[in-house]
């Protein structure tokens, strides 16, 4: 554990990124390239969820609200206003920062199950707005249940490098949280919010900051996925299963740790890909069993195994 959080972990990570960055140049393409891209997407998503919920202890059960909002923001800007993807992605981040600041300002005062339910409700409300907004208001904007089709994307390598960059960025932020005052503040909130408040930590401001940062990055990732897959529907981008996957990946690797989401997302994405291809119909059942087993037997994540072994 200490070796992982210390200098050696960083060294291994940088080496791994360098190798991964070289892969497309060495001729990696097709399915494998897409699989690795998917892996980077999930590591980034789980990482974003982790530095909000893992560090503050506030369980956000509606991160898909921003994933979906980001996907729609990027898609609408690109289709309706003919702007380039980069503008769409930045717009996704801005929209989600704005939305999450509003929602966070209201919901981050309530705790425990209440916060989880409130964020879940926010995500479902946004999904319904995208589904029904057009019909109610009588315009053609979100595309209803048919969803939206985006312009043709560039080569797969573009998304590979973009998402690899995101992985580095998200892991970098989390790594800094272990060292800086902001991170200490968040951890203090997790351990005891009252004590933190009494010691002069501006808890609400810190929580909102972490929430907005996490949500706007998730929004950008939503925009990226929309452009990558070129097609979005509300039931998919706001799917509660995505939330659960972010949470279970983080939990599997270890919440509130730098490498937890990387390990958890890496394992579950590959396992999911393998199982999904082999057991198409029973995939969800197996996923359910895996979740139950992880919670019952590995509640602190696989990182805790490493910790236990070292004494």
């Amino acid at each position: 554990m200490k070796a992982l959080t210390g200098g050696r972990g960083v060294f291994v990570f940088i080496a791994a990124i360098a190798v991964l960055a070289a892969f497309p140049l060495l001729g990696l393409e097709g399915y494998r390239l897409r699989l690795l891209t998917l892996l980077f997407l999930w590591i980034s998503l789980a990482g974003c969820w982790n530095f909000m919920s893992g560090y503050t202890g506030y369980i956000d059960f509606g991160p898909v609200a921003y994933f979906g909002a980001g996907a729609y923001a990027a898609a609408i800007l690109m289709i309706r206003f003919d702007l380039p993807f980069l503008a769409g992605m930045v717009f996704s981040g801005v929209v989600c920062a704005f939305l999450s600041a509003m929602i966070g300002w209201a919901t981050l005062r309530i705790r425990g199950a209440y916060f989880a339910i409130a964020t879940f409700a926010a995500a479902e409300a946004m999904k319904q707005i995208c589904l029904e907004g057009d019909r109610v208001a009588g315009f053609d904007f979100f595309g209803g249940s048919h969803g939206l089709t985006l312009p043709a994307p560039p080569a797969s390598e573009f998304f590979y490098y973009l998402l690899l960059g995101f992985v580095v960025f998200v892991v970098g932020i989390t790594y800094l949280l272990e060292k800086n005052k902001f991170g200490y503040g968040l951890k203090a909130i997790r351990e005891s919010e009252q004590a933190a408040e009494l010691s002069g930590v501006p808890t609400l401001a810190l929580k909102i900051k972490a929430y907005v940062l996490s949500s706007s990055l998730i929004g950008c990732l939503g925009g990226i996925e929309a452009y990558w897959l070129t097609y979005i529907i509300p039931d998919d981008v706001f799917n509660v299963l995505r939330t659960i996957q972010m949470v279970i990946m983080t939990l599997l690797g270890g919440m509130g740790t730098v490498w937890g989401p990387v390990i958890g997302a890496g394992f579950l994405t590959l396992a999911g890909e393998f199982l999904g291809a082999r057991f198409v119909y029973d995939y969800l059942t197996i996923l359910g069993v895996v979740i139950v087993v992880v919670i019952l037997f590995l509640p602190r994540g696989v990182m805790s195994l490493a910790k236990r072994k070292r004494g």
Partner: protein
């Protein structure tokens, strides 16, 4: 005016069912602190028990209720012993994930077994109704509403008039103190969860009378239970009746005067507003942490 009264009555009839579906959710949360994301699947299982007994054996849907109660009681007991007891006292996130895992297993197994077809019950009296001053009242809706009230009264009497109910309430108020007083807390958890599953299953049997039955119907009912329980006060069981009625009337009026799609958005907004400004429910008697 007739339209308004009709949607009001529809809302009240709907609200009774919602309350019956949500009471078990509140009980499980109050006693064990578990937000049960597989709650709606008990509704689904109850509905399917009734559906199959009706289709295969020709039982009247109302006569299937005792069997649903028994089956779901033991299923709840089994799931509780096998999984939920092990995470008592763990951080709440464990219970969200564990129960979501259970939801995935139950609903996907149901999907494999029974396919995704939409099914409806149509006993001989399905479409019958009577009108009163221009208002239409279907018999089966009235009967399910009455039975939902009976179910809730039964739960209330169980919790407030029996020794076991007293022990359950004591455990939900202060687990450690209850243990010190000689209450076997894990036994209480098991009974509370089994009762929660049983009444939810019966509510599912009632749901089957008026709603479409299919394996994926669970999650929407979990969400409905969230809303009802937050309105009535999380963990405060008698509040669920009022929570259910408020939500039923609210949804019914929103569907009549706005659109069905928007009514769901408004439901979630109502839920958000309640959580932010009045997390203890309309009576302020819900658990606050």
């Amino acid at each position: 005016m007739i339209l308004f009264l009709q949607s009001l009555i529809n809302g009240i009839l709907l609200g009774g069912i919602y309350a019956a579906c949500a009471a078990g959710f509140s009980l499980a949360f109050g006693v064990m602190g578990i937000v049960n994301l597989s709650h709606g699947d008990f509704v689904m299982l109850g509905a399917f028990v009734t559906y199959w007994l009706f289709v295969l054996l020709g039982w009247d849907p109302f006569l299937t209720l005792p069997l649903t109660l028994t089956i779901l009681f033991f299923l709840g007991l089994f799931l509780q012993k096998l999984t939920l007891n092990r995470i008592a006292g763990a951080p709440p996130i464990m219970s969200y994930l564990l129960t979501f895992g259970l939801h995935l297993v139950i609903s996907s197994l149901a999907l494999r077994a029974w396919t995704a077809d939409y099914r409806t019950l149509n006993p001989a009296y399905a479409g019958l109704n009577f009108s009163l001053c221009g208002l239409i009242l279907p018999y089966s809706r009235l009967a399910t509403f009455a039975l939902a009230l009976v179910l809730l009264c039964g739960l209330y009497l169980f919790l407030y008039r029996t020794e076991m109910g007293r022990a359950i309430r004591a455990t939900s108020q202060d687990r450690e103190m209850a243990r010190l007083l000689g209450i076997r807390v894990f036994k209480i958890f098991a009974v509370a969860f089994a009762v929660s599953a049983a009444i939810t299953g019966v509510a599912g049997s009632l749901v089957a009378q008026t709603f479409v039955v299919y394996p994926q119907m669970g999650l929407p009912f979990t969400v409905t239970a969230f809303c009802v329980v937050v309105l009535g006060g999380l963990g405060y069981v008698p509040g669920t009746l009022f929570g259910g009625l408020i939500l039923g009337v609210f949804e019914s009026l929103a569907t009549t005067y706005l659109t069905a799609g928007l009514s769901l958005v408004l439901t979630f907004l109502l839920l958000l507003i309640m959580l932010i400004f009045r997390p203890g429910g309309v009576f302020g008697r819900g658990a606050l942490e």
